[in-house]
Every structure is written in C-alpha cells, then in structure tokens.
Symmetry: C2
C-alpha cells in the first residue's frame, strides 16, 4: 500500500530516511524553505543533492507521480520538494520556473504572515491573495505544474487561491476547525467547514495532521480521536478528498523554533516559545504509520478507503498537479 | 532661500547636479531603490559614493538637517538618501539599521503594490500595514530616525502608518485628491482631504508634485493651477504642512518605465506604458524652481510662507525626523 505523507519538515538526515523505510512510507513532501530567499534555497537543494547521493539506498527525488510510484515500488521513499512560503521566489516571476526546473512541485503561498503574494493565518482573516504579484504567481504555478498549497494561509487567501487558480489546490497539512474546536489555541491554523467543502468541490485534497498544536486534545489526542476526525472529514466531503499530512518534524535544535516563528522579520517571536510539542504516543515518528492503518482497519474503513486516504488521493492529485497545464486534458 | 525637493528619481549624472545648482536647489531627496533588494541597493550606494567623489563641487550626502544647511550654504546640493519601497530591507528587521548606518533617512513603505510591510495604491483601498513585519519596520524606523514615507501607499496604509508610528510621517510626493479631481486617471495616487488633515494634525508634511500624471490637467497644468493647488492645500492645513516634492525624473531609457511599473513581479505592466510624460512648460527641470517661487510671490504668498513651503517645512521636519528617537525631546 502506497503511503504518502503530504508534509514533513525534518532537518534532513539518514535517521529520518530510515524511519520512512521502516514505516513503509513511499513518498514524503519535504520543506526546502519557509523564510529562505532564492540563494539560500539553492543551498538547501544542494544539500538534498548530497543526501540523494549518499542515501540512494533509501531516497530519491520525484517530480512526477510516475516517479513516486517507481521509487516507492523499489522500496525507497520518493522525496517531493516544496516550499512553505513563496519567499524563494522573492519578487521575481521568473524564479518560479527556475525552481520548477530544479524539481520543486509544491509551494505554499505564505507561512503565517503577509508577504508579497498573500496573507498567512496570523494576519486578519479578511486579507487574501494580492492583486498583482499574488495572482501572477498562481497563474505561473498553474502553467508550470507547481501545486498551490494554502495550509498556513488566511481563510480569505484559501478562497482567493481557489478562485484564481485554474487548477485544484492543496491543503497539505491542516485539520478541520469545526471538529478540533476552539479549545485548541492554534485552531485558527485549521480550515473551516465551508472551505473544506469548497476545496473538495474544486478537486483539492486536505492532508490531516498529527501535529499536536492543531489536533483536538493536543498531545493527548488519542488515535481514536484522530480517526474520529478522519471519519468526520470523510463524512463531510467523501473519501476522495482526504489524505495525510502529518507536519512531523525532528532533528532540529530548539533555537530553530524562533526561526519558524519570527524568521528575520522580528527580534522576538510574537507567540511565546514553549519548546517542541510531544508527538502523540501512537505517532512518535514515521515508523508508526502502520498504527494509523491498523486503527483505520479496526475502525471499519474499507480497504479502498484506506488506500485512498493514506496515499492514493495524493497520488491522483499529484499525477495531474505536477504536469504542466498544457499536458493536462 | 533654502529649496528642498522632497523627491526626485533621476538616473544620477552630472547634468542633473548642474540643474540643481542652476535652480538654487539646496537639498534633494533621491531614490536608491524601488524594487531593488539589499545587495542591489548596496550597488546603488556604491555608485553614489563615486558621484560624491567625482562631483564634490556640486553635491554631498546629508544625514542630518544640520548637514543639509551646511552643504546648501556652501552653494552645493545636499543629497538625502531614500527608498520608494522597503524592498532593500527584504525580510530582515536588522537591515533597517544597516541602511541607516549607510545614510538612508527616508523609506516609503511600499511602491504601488503589496509587499511584506504594507500595500500600495494599486491594491484595494482597505489594505493597510501588515500586523507583524509592517509594525516592526515602523517601530524600528522610529527608533533609528528613518522617516516613514507613504506617498505611493493605499489610504489605509497611510492611516495605519500614522497610527502605528510614534513619530510624524511624510508624504514626500503627492497631491490633494479633492483638488486634482477624478479626471486624472492616477488621482488614486493622491491623498484624500481627510488624510491630509490627519497628516497635518500629527506633524507630518506633504510635498506637492509637478508630476503630470497626478496634477490637475496633466501636462497642461498651468503654473496658476499648480499654485491654486498649493493655496488650496495651505487653506486646508496651513502653511506649515506643505512642501515641494516634484517627483521629477530624467536620464532614463524608456525601458526603465517597465521596471517601475512591473519590477520583476510581472512579465507585462498592468498599466499601459505610453512613454514619459511631458513636464509642464513652467517646470522643465530643476532650473525652473525660480519660476515657482516667482509665481508664489506674484500670487501673494508672504515671504515667510514661501520660505516654509519651498524648503523650511521639510528642513524642520527632517531636523527631528532624522534623529534617533532617543535624541528627540
């Protein structure tokens, strides 16, 4: 069974790649950049080039769905390159094709705050995709076959992206707000029912996340509750729209949290930094994907549903999404 | 009489500096960057270093009001460095102090479109200063003594900047919307009566512009009409709030227009490019400042008013505005 994790943000190293193998993970969408500019992102790609060389027994870069299938069939994990912010594009429409040439297939419009393209979920709800560069970026990503991701964006940015994008968009890692509930402080990062419906109607996929800060009951979220959320989402929009996007990360020093929260754009984080969250007992790392699958089986998801949710939906979405617009019927 | 032009955007060369001398211009706020990033802006500063060396008989860099007075008193023109977009700060709060150290004393929050800091006048009216980086940038500029300029920003950005800035802000180059009227397509770039009042109440200054695209009757605007606008603005907010900010530019190839309109963020300009505007007959270049002063005298402005409007107000504004917050009582 092909497992695709639509977002992990590890400090890349062999220990993670071994976990992927042990967990039977066929494909992981990795993050090359959140605040990194073009030059810094080239360095990240250079580092991945070395990883692909040194750990060729475990990983390989995939830029098409066919490559994902081939790499996974060989017992290795296919790595899909993505950004969590359009910062690597800087202010240059031409950089989108450059990064596409280097293999990048997914880009989130913005990470938490406002950039030239759009606004993130820490900003006021009503801010959306910018009228000039924002629309230009979406149009160019559509042309090339780079998936628009809106996981960390404002609701308005999500709706705008659906409207302006000529192709389906992705929420690679977020949960349904209505299910998670307002007890969870970061529920703002999750997606409204209205948005998830709209995403589904337009051919998008949402990757449900194990990240404690956006799950019901946080680090105490049980597998049962996680599966309740999965069933709730399937009831809402059907089994073809739901995937996994754990948001799992490991291998970072604690100082990395400040980079994620404040980049270079603030001297202090606007949100208190409390250290890393504890992952739930049933998902300590990628070795635990079989726990989720076993839970789904016990819960009574059909084999067809399980195959779709743990990887099939993302594979279908990527099959068209990674092709240039001119190659899609 | 000290003449200060609060914005010119020439391709820097000796011919312009000679015009400044011939027109008796004591100080010009020049533009180092509109879309340029940090590295490119360093190049622009390096080029100005060479200009100051090669044309020391005509120009010198000023970073305080006292330096402006000294340089002007020596018969030369004081150059004040500014940006028309915060693009040189990229996403880095620390770059503001770096550019302050290099002499930059004025920065417009954004040029026409949305960036990480704020939104420009081509964007929807309701978009303002961004909640995180935008407010951080204003706070840091306030601390250092770098003037916040909002000439090309949305109305909301102007009001937000006044609210978030602990110090008076500037409109270095724009005209009153109500006077210019909607016959002028780019009147959107001008400022509402409400905003000009608010600017005045909070100690700001507005520089009236000869740029044909934002004057009543465009290139056919007569000196009389320009002086009508000046009198109208003085009637509105008093003679202490009004200055000059011609927006004069010269020496560029026509290809430069596309850079101004579209930067690197679009392949085509969103506004049709029709070539350079014809400057009005009474202001063909900086040699014609005496025409404006003579017109003001004939029109019956008092000598005290003339001195304030052609330079005194900006000098007073810069005297505090260029000081660090800790040095201002």
């Amino acid at each position: 069974m092909l497992i695709i994790d639509a977002l992990q943000y590890n400090n890349p190293e062999r220990a993670r790649f071994e976990e992927w193998r042990d967990g039977g993970v066929g494909c992981v969408h990795v993050t090359l950049a959140i605040w990194e500019n073009a030059r810094e992102t080239l360095t990240a790609i250079g580092q991945w080039n070395r990883h692909f060389e040194e750990h060729a027994d475990l990983i390989a870069l995939a830029t098409t769905a066919e490559e994902i299938e081939e790499i996974a069939a060989s017992g290795r994990t296919a790595v899909v390159y993505g950004f969590q912010d359009t910062s690597p594009f800087e202010d240059d429409i031409e950089l989108i094709e450059i990064f596409h040439q280097l293999g990048v297939r997914i880009a989130q419009l913005t990470y938490n705050v406002q950039n030239r393209v759009a606004s993130g979920c820490w900003e006021p709800d009503e801010l959306g995709v910018s009228k000039f560069f924002g629309r230009n970026v979406i149009e160019e990503m559509n042309r090339l076959g780079m998936v628009v991701d809106v996981s960390h964006c404002t609701e308005q940015t999500c709706f705008d992206a659906i409207e302006y994008s000529s192709r389906p968009i992705a929420v690679t890692h977020a949960n349904p707000q209505e299910f998670v509930g307002t007890d969870i402080e970061l529920n703002r990062r999750n997606k409204s029912t209205e948005l998830i419906r709209k995403l589904a109607e337009t051919g998008g996929v949402i990757g449900l996340s194990n990240y404690p800060k956006i799950m019901k009951d946080g680090s105490n979220c049980t597998l049962d509750t996680f599966l309740d959320m999965m069933a709730w989402t399937v009831d809402l929009v059907g089994a073809d729209t739901v995937g996994l996007g754990t948001d799992f990360y490991d291998g970072w020093p604690e100082s990395q949290i400040k980079w994620w929260r404040a980049g270079r754009w603030a001297r202090e984080s606007a949100i208190p930094i409390k250290g890393f969250s504890d992952w739930p007992a049933w998902f300590r790392n990628s070795r635990d994907f079989p726990n989720i699958i076993e839970g789904m089986q016990k819960r009574g998801f059909s084999q067809a549903e399980i195959e779709k949710i743990v990887g099939g939906n993302w594979l279908r979405f990527f099959r068209d999404g990674f092709k240039p617009a001119s190659a899609v019927s």
